[in-house]
Amino acid sequence: MRLAAVLLAVAFWSRDARAQLTVSGTPAELTVGAATAGAAPDAVSNSSTSYKITPLPAGNYALTAAIDSPMPAGVTLTVTLAADGTASSSGPVALTTTPNNVVTGITKKTTGNLPITYTVTATPAAGVVPVQTRVVTFTIVSTP
């Protein structure tokens, strides 16, 4: 019985130590539809959403991002996540199906609501691209 109690206590301790990554909102549709004659199409951005991390056990962490399928040829989706404390933002990161760091050096246990900026760029060669979606997955990973 005592052993069971100890095991249950360990279980509850582990559950309370899980980091919670929360992203708020869904960005409005990003439509590339204008250009200055002679230049590539104008990029479009959205910064209406944010993320928050609470709470982290002691240690170093990074935040990665990936999309569920490749972007159309000539179209690039980049994401920029703000960082606070001692963490560093990787700046604009082009999203692919391979997770890439978007924030590194996260040691702060809890962050505030930090902005996420998405930007879509397209070359003329991309042509007309119909409306479509990509699911962006953000993941907290422990780092050495």
């Binding site: 019985m1 052993l3 069971a4 109690a5 100890v6 095991l7 249950l8 360990v10 279980a11 509850f12 582990s14 559950r15 130590a17 899980r18 980091a19 919670q20 990554l21 992203v23 869904t26 960005p27 409005a28 549709e29 990003l30 439509t31 590339v32 539809g33 250009a35 200055t36 004659a37 002679g38 230049a39 590539a40 199409p41 993320y51 999309i67 179209v75 989706l77 996420i116 998405y118 879509v120 397209a122 003329p124 060669a125 991309a126 042509g127 007309v128 691209v129 119909p130 409306v131 479509q132 979606t133 990509r134 699911v135 962006v136 997955t137 953000f138 993941t139 907290i140 990973v141 422990s142």
Partner: protein
């Protein structure tokens, strides 16, 4: 319940808690599209004066320089047309010559009228700037003396597919 059952249950709960304590993830859905884009622009304000001739020949044509045009399209087979709002005086011809961007075709020196005419065709998925644009003014002897006047040349890009 036997003590061993409690131990087993406790162990299973602990293992489950540890396994779900690994990487935490969250998702967002991003929606996007690229619509048809067709833009054309020109630079320069040319001035053309015919005032010379070789004896026995028609007046000497004059050509402008230093004008340029730029284009962006993300479609296939776009074209540029040009027109003027009112006809040129009798015996006087204004022509435009646009250098084509890569893969497109220029119609060369093309006389301008009130009906839009192609000046560049087959423009496909590109952006190009600073392309040469020249005007030529021709006059027959019968045109006589023509006082200074202006024509606004309108260039229009028609998107492809």
């Amino acid at each position: 319940m036997k003590k061993s059952a409690f131990v087993t249950i406790g162990a299973l709960v602990a293992l489950a808690a540890v396994n779900t304590a690994s990487a935490q993830s969250a998702t967002q859905t991003v929606t996007f599209q690229v619509t048809a884009i067709n833009q054309v622009a020109v630079t320069g304000t040319p001035s053309l004066v015919i005032n010379a001739a070789a004896a026995g020949s028609a007046p000497t044509s004059v050509t402008s320089s230093g004008n340029t045009w730029s284009v962006t399209t993300n479609q296939t087979g776009a074209s540029i047309t040009a027109s003027i709002p009112t006809a040129m005086p009798a015996g006087v011809t204004l022509s435009a010559n646009l250098t084509a961007p890569a893969g497109a075709t220029s119609t060369g020196l093309t006389a301008l009228g009130t009906t839009a005419v192609n000046v560049v065709t087959g423009i496909t998925k590109l952006n190009a700037s600073g392309l040469a644009l020249s005007y030529q003014l021709d006059a027959t002897a019968a045109a006589g003396v023509v006082t200074s006047s202006t024509r606004v040349v309108t260039y229009t890009i028609t998107g492809g597919v």
